[in-house]
Symmetry: D2
Subunit: 343 residues, 4 copies
């Protein structure tokens, strides 16, 4: 069956051929279940190459799990987690963070999905006062859910602020590769070296079948994670097939090529749309999504032909998302269709 590529989400894409081959290669005979295998050891080494040799790494199955479990192991039930109002952990995990960690999640309004110290201050208080949830985590998404990207300095500043209050900096990096290539840096520059303590590092949205990881830059936090992962229903028995994917993903710059590709397609889409006066781009295009306001009456017609999501119904704001497999032709055909529709 042949399916058209759309612009709904990078997770509507399939598996990159190299990743699929890595699964096939790992499919031989028996290996011990649950991660005590050669594929997992090699994948962890690969991750250490990119993120630093002192990290602790654990694979899980979904991005929500990477976030929820990484937050849970780092908190006590009486803590609070502060994040942007738009954060995946705040609006797209059906309350998993609260339910599993027991913590309060405190949303901060932002224009662009990025929090800063000014917006945090109001919530970073009440330490030692038992009536208040005790602030413990600042959680940022990189790139944000609005496609914007924190600079290394911005992350650093948040990290320092967090640590000053004995708090931790958590990063939801479901699309981290897209941010890294956007900034032209290395993984380390915006994680280990920028003060991040806990990272959800995802692969699914950039070519993997499934595969997410939790990386601890503060090893002490990782101490009990294996129990939390198992109790959290995220210990895969045939772990080798996640691990093999991650190894391939981080070898020969596959992660980078895919991310560059997706980002470039977003830029192309952005340029094409910018020419249309009926369309207003609403966020900086810094990774693989384009947010735009367009006349509401056309949305249905466009959606009949292409998958994509309405982000804010009230404002007629939509999100177009590119992925590793989007082609230039996809963009041109799509924008041509938009052009005809809205004119």
């Amino acid at each position: 069956m042949k399916h058209k590529r759309g612009f709904a989400s990078d997770n509507n894409s399939g598996i990159h051929p190299d990743i699929l081959k890595s699964i096939e290669r790992a499919n031989s005979g028996h290996v011990i279940a649950y991660g005590d295998d050669i594929y997992t050891r090699r994948a962890i080494l690969k991750i250490k190459e990119h993120f630093g040799k002192d990290v602790e790494v654990f694979f899980v199955l979904t991005g929500t799990a990477a976030n929820v479990l990484g937050l849970t192991v780092s908190t006590n039930t009486f803590n609070s987690i502060i994040c942007a109002e738009t954060a995946h952990i705040n609006v797209d995990e059906c309350g998993g963070p609260e339910n599993f960690s027991g913590c309060k999640v405190i949303p901060v309004e932002t224009p662009d999905g990025k929090i800063n110290i000014g917006s945090l201050k109001k919530h970073v208080r009440g330490f030692g006062f038992e009536h208040h949830s005790q602030p413990k985590i600042i959680s940022i998404s990189q790139p944000t859910e609005l496609g914007t990207v924190y600079s290394p300095d911005e992350i650093n500043e948040l990290g320092k602020y967090a640590h000053k209050y004995n708090m931790l900096l958590h990063m939801d990096g479901a699309r981290l590769s897209n941010a890294v290539v956007s900034l032209g840096v290395e993984f380390k520059d915006i994680t280990a070296d920028a003060g991040v303590d806990i990272l959800s590092f995802g692969g699914t949205k950039n070519g993997m079948l499934f595969g997410e990881s939790v990386i601890f830059f503060n090893r002490k936090l990782a101490e009990n994670f294996k129990y939390i992962r198992k109790q959290g229903m995220q210990l895969a028995s045939k772990m080798r097939f996640i691990s093999a994917q991650f190894e391939t993903y981080l070898t020969n710059d596959l992660w980078k090529k895919n991310a560059v590709y997706a980002n470039n397609m977003a830029q192309l889409l952005y340029r094409e749309l910018s020419e249309l006066k009926q369309i207003k781009i609403t966020q900086k295009v810094q990774s693989n999504s384009v947010f735009a306001v367009l006349p509401g009456k056309y949305i249905k017609k466009l959606q009949d032909e292409y998958f994509f999501y309405v982000w804010d119904e009230g404002k007629s704001e939509v999100r177009f998302m590119t992925s590793f497999d989007t082609t230039e032709e996809d963009i041109y055909t799509f924008t041509q269709f938009i052009r005809q529709t809205v004119k």
Copy 2:
């Protein structure tokens, strides 16, 4: 890399070639994430063919998740769940059922992993008394963690007993196919038609890469499951790749062939081991595992050559498990090695 097949667990096996092909076939273009796709619709139809058209089906990623989430949606925090002391939900899920559902898990001692009404009675009481956890679920594993199998009549009796007390019958069917072929029945006969309300139906241990499901025979229970699944971190974005596996698994009797094969290999292993006077088989061989007591001093030596687990260190009891890819030659080579070792 070539790995030897061992006898540690059926989840040490890889992916059946037909299953792998189904993943490759589904890897085309974009489809909507999270299950609103043609592969998932087809897989659900397949499940309905086997389990009845009135069931509700949800795919998840691990067997622990299928159990924990199926139990959670069916209970309130003040309920209790009664199961065999050996049940996976009692000893192998790191307390996930208690933590996620909030319920008390009450273990019942059994000689063979099978609970019966006699052993339940002591715990099915205190209804309406607010000091006690209120009994709500009887949970059985089919086959049990000791490789034994409940007859349809036994299940029926437990189902009737559960319903008499307004309780529910839950079945952990991580290896359900092995039980079905062992009994020579259809899936329905020991689930829908035997009073089961909630089923964890697994594929990972019988040839799938990953793929578990929760099947509700009582649709009312399924009402909120989609939220519990998402909150429970088990909603896979690229769902099509679980669904495609399930469709193939349930087509052309693949599930059955694999299960028959694994069970036959266990029978062969059983016959071979029975001839050795140093070895005592401790449980009926009714599915794909053989439990045996053997002189403790040989265990290490055997394990150096083959993966397998010591079940009960005190008794020198071990578990040998076969899987869909175990060959006759594997059995003969293994038993030959045992023969030489223990003589």
Copy 3:
């Protein structure tokens, strides 16, 4: 030991003499523990006199418990609870609502502690969408934590709005008596008849030793509350001593006299403070608290002499609270001291 009365909180007060006598009277011989006693039956009848005969009533020990358990029994873990940012359930219960119910608590900014439909709309959405916490509760405090009071019409409107979306209206009535006398209505008018589904009705802040209750106007919600209360550690063994207090509280208008008295003292304080040009009253004085901004440099000096809380350090905003035992003399002495200090 003799302690001065301050203005920190009505819960710094002691026990009203009539309430204390009711405890002494109930202290005779043995009665069955946990609520199956004559005192509890009588107290429940009293509550029904005031709130309607179809309510279900349960006594608990703290106001936080009344809120947390009332919310827990009415929700599922995947629900959200919407409240004012200043709500006790949001900022003063150390994350108890999230932790015990598993729900997301969504705070809404307000100038005066009161939410309205306009401010709710943004959060009452996503029904049926499994990625989002499902909105289930609108929770209001009456009076609010800022001392303001919802009119019966305002409550009615929120109730209708909640029910339109199959949601519930919860009221934190830790100081409900103060609101009732402020509005010159009956308890029913702003609860049963205004669309409230679940009420935390408190007595501790208005003369009781300890004693809070959860009242369900929707009996179906109460079905499992007894289990939730016991599991929630709030089933008092010597229940008669809570019940006896409630009976006395609701007899001969003791609740009303105390509330009228406390409110009047707040009005007196308000009038006295209004005369001082250095002090700015920041909220309407509608119950028993006065919020005021005063020059920050005087706060410490005032606090050395009288207990009271700084509400917002940044703004030099303080809260003065009166209680059933505040005397006119207390007010005059206090305001005299303020006058001298700030001039």
Copy 4:
């Protein structure tokens, strides 16, 4: 209203007159809420006199809360808590320990409510194995729910065993005073000096209106307890009235007199019942309860006249419990009535 004293439970009793007076004495003016008051400081000093100056003490409102919160703060969700099958935490807290701590509670069968190392061994294993709940707490009740008492040596042995495995010893001392006087020791001898790490020390069953405490002998464990208590809905605003009771309870041996009295009454009841051949005493009478089997047909008739509980319906086993206010006359009248009934 005058109520007859029965034999249902010591918590059916009222308030000891000295305790009631302490509440009246504390009822003056305003004191800061939530425990920062002189009464609480003095009560804590009293507790330190009896339990050692290095303890940390917190007051709560119910015995279930003392247990659940003490266990919660000392565990992680992936831990297990091992206790006697008859333990209050296992059967009388409606699953509160599981729900609030997230832990697995593992019941151990015992003939007399007392666990020993032999019975624990099977469950103290699997350390480091992520599939298993990690054993963390051994919880004992002193006296047990069957009225039996652990000797200091027995406790010591359990404490050493727990610590050997990096586990903790928890004691449910809802009736600790009764055990202390039964053994003729000091509080310290069976707690601080016997290896107990966390103690629920209750007063309600021995003359207090309400008042329970959690005492930590390992101060590190207490670090976060204040947050857990608040989140756990157990921070009383008018704390002074719990504290005042505890101070009086531990002054002039009130605790001891009450406990001696209750225990003596149980001995008297035991002696009287021993003379009746239709009645068989089933447990050692070491505190303030008597367990007995008597012909089932008489139970209803006895219960019509006196409150008491059937402990095990199958065996016609009943529990008679004495309390601080039971009189010799109560015992003689009761046993006379039994004598007439069963003959």
